[in-house]
Symmetry: C2
């Protein structure tokens, strides 16, 4: 059978047609144009599905199901987008609307959840039934799989691991609370930490690397640290602790088979990943008496959303 | 059918024979004598089961299953106690050993997990499929039920919510890490916070209440606060924040139907519970757009362990 996975983003909607093994037969993307009313966007998604089927030479009746990953709070049981941060979606009955055009079983979930499912089914978590997926990007997104099933919570409002506490009363977070993990471990937070350290250390190599890139980015402190810069190393040391500490909280709660890290920072390689792994090994509850949890880089990258949306249907 | 629930503690082993509705037909307790080798303790547990059946006038063959709640890390899938903090149990194949005496299906899990299951099935979480249970005692224990199933994690090493982070690098915790929720929200932590505040405030009413009780306890600051003592109120205010902040992390991850609080502090009534509820309402992710999570007092008290062990069998 064939499946269609749709990855809805604020700028782009990506779609893919695959089989149950995640093998692609077609892949396409369209602009979201998020300022539009939802029926127009949904109509475009249905067109995208038909295009995918056509270019794979598959009749739409051969598509067993369609899955969609959507940013925001998604009530998957009801097939409704409760609200979305990036797109003008509020209380949108997307499944019902979509099936006006293509009447196949249609599953939806939050984009981080869906990416987690994709990694667990087809990516670096393949073969694992219990997976915690963490994206370190603009925010900290988490997708959690327990016994092979997505943890979604009431109304799809769970799995918001980015908003677990890291430092009570600490840095303000976009959610209105202070001290969330996201306020310390997101790429946004890393850039803020880097900028602060640069102000205090005018001779740090971070200034050189930021000038070369034309901006302070999530790479700046890593580049300086790898070149032996003390101030850069201090930023990376602290950031490793922030990331690891939040992962340890997840490990203590879920004790999954593995924790997968996605997002730009995961490209820092062993320099980053191995140090996070060491802290997780050392400080997770029960130490060596409890099963070790491997921290791995997520591997599906841009396809995680599409393949996760397919996995929603399986 | 009949079921037997066994609640194994460091001092006492309690047992009860009930039906599937949690109605008691017999209840008994024996001393654990935890210094003994495990086969002796298991033999006593089997005797306890036979006694329970006898005093209920039930033949042991009418008992459908036996459940046990045990402190420590429990590998429920294997029926093995990995290790226990309070009893001399390490790698104990308790299910196999027990079935030498009474060969019925036997289920085991961690005591906080089992208590959570008891509250969800028969107590203040009755009718809920998604429950987070928190005990504020010597430590902070958590039991988590997702879609009606206990969250146990690999090797039973999950659901250690007491060791999620509250303040990175903060107070040392018994687990070897710093800043765990348990190091701020346990009754032990509250007593430490009270003692520190008393040292700084020699005229606080906390001294009077501690003298009356003969010791500083988890009640001292609450008694003083309720009597209008400023220093006592400051202790309670901070403690409410610590408890609520950890609950908010749980809500953001699990978004359960309800959070149940057990342990001595839950007896402080509305003065405590309503203030925790207000913070949870205000700071949980998504605010009013997301489903509200009710914070309730656990109600089964001493029977939670036995009834939870029965619920393990259902």
């Amino acid at each position: 059978m064939y499946y269609i996975g749709i990855d809805i983003g604020g700028m782009t909607i990506k779609g893919g047609l695959t089989d149950e093994n995640g093998k692609f037969y077609a892949k396409k993307a369209i602009d979201t144009k998020p300022e539009r009313e939802y029926p127009e966007i949904v109509k475009d998604i249905a067109e995208l599905c038909k295009d995918l089927a056509a270019s794979a030479g598959v009749d739409i009746s051969e598509v067993a199901a369609v899955g969609m990953g959507i940013p925001g709070t998604i009530d998957s049981a009801k097939g409704v987008i409760t609200y979305s941060n990036n797109i003008n979606f509020e209380k949108v009955p997307i499944v019902k609307e979509f099936r006006k055009y293509i009447d196949v079983p249609t599953r939806i979930s939050n984009d981080a959840n869906v990416a987690a499912l994709g990694e667990a089914r087809f990516g670096s978590g393949k073969g694992s039934k219990d997976v915690v997926f963490v994206t370190l990007g603009t925010g900290v997104g988490t997708g959690i799989i327990v016994n092979g099933v997505l943890l979604e919570g009431k109304g799809g409002a769970g799995a918001e691991g980015g908003h677990t506490c890291l430092k009570i009363g600490g840095e303000p977070c976009s959610c209105g609370k202070r001290g969330c993990w996201e306020a310390y471990a997101s790429a946004t937070a890393l850039i803020r930490q880097t900028t602060r350290a640069m102000e205090k250390n005018p001779s740090s190599l971070m200034h050189k690397f930021a000038a070369e890139e034309g901006k302070v980015s999530g790479k700046t402190a890593f580049l300086a640290a790898k070149a032996g810069d003390k101030a850069g190393q201090a930023v990376v040391d602290a950031y490793v602790k922030y990331v690891a500490e939040g992962i340890i909280s997840m490990v203590n709660l879920f004790r999954p088979d593995c924790v997968l890290i996605g997002g730009g920072v995961s490209n820092e390689g062993d320099y980053f990943m191995k140090r996070v792994q060491r802290r997780v090994n050392r400080f997770s509850y029960g130490g060596k008496r409890n099963p070790r949890v491997e921290v791995r880089k997520a591997e599906l990258k841009n396809d995680a959303g599409i393949l996760g949306a397919v996995a929603l249907c399986l």
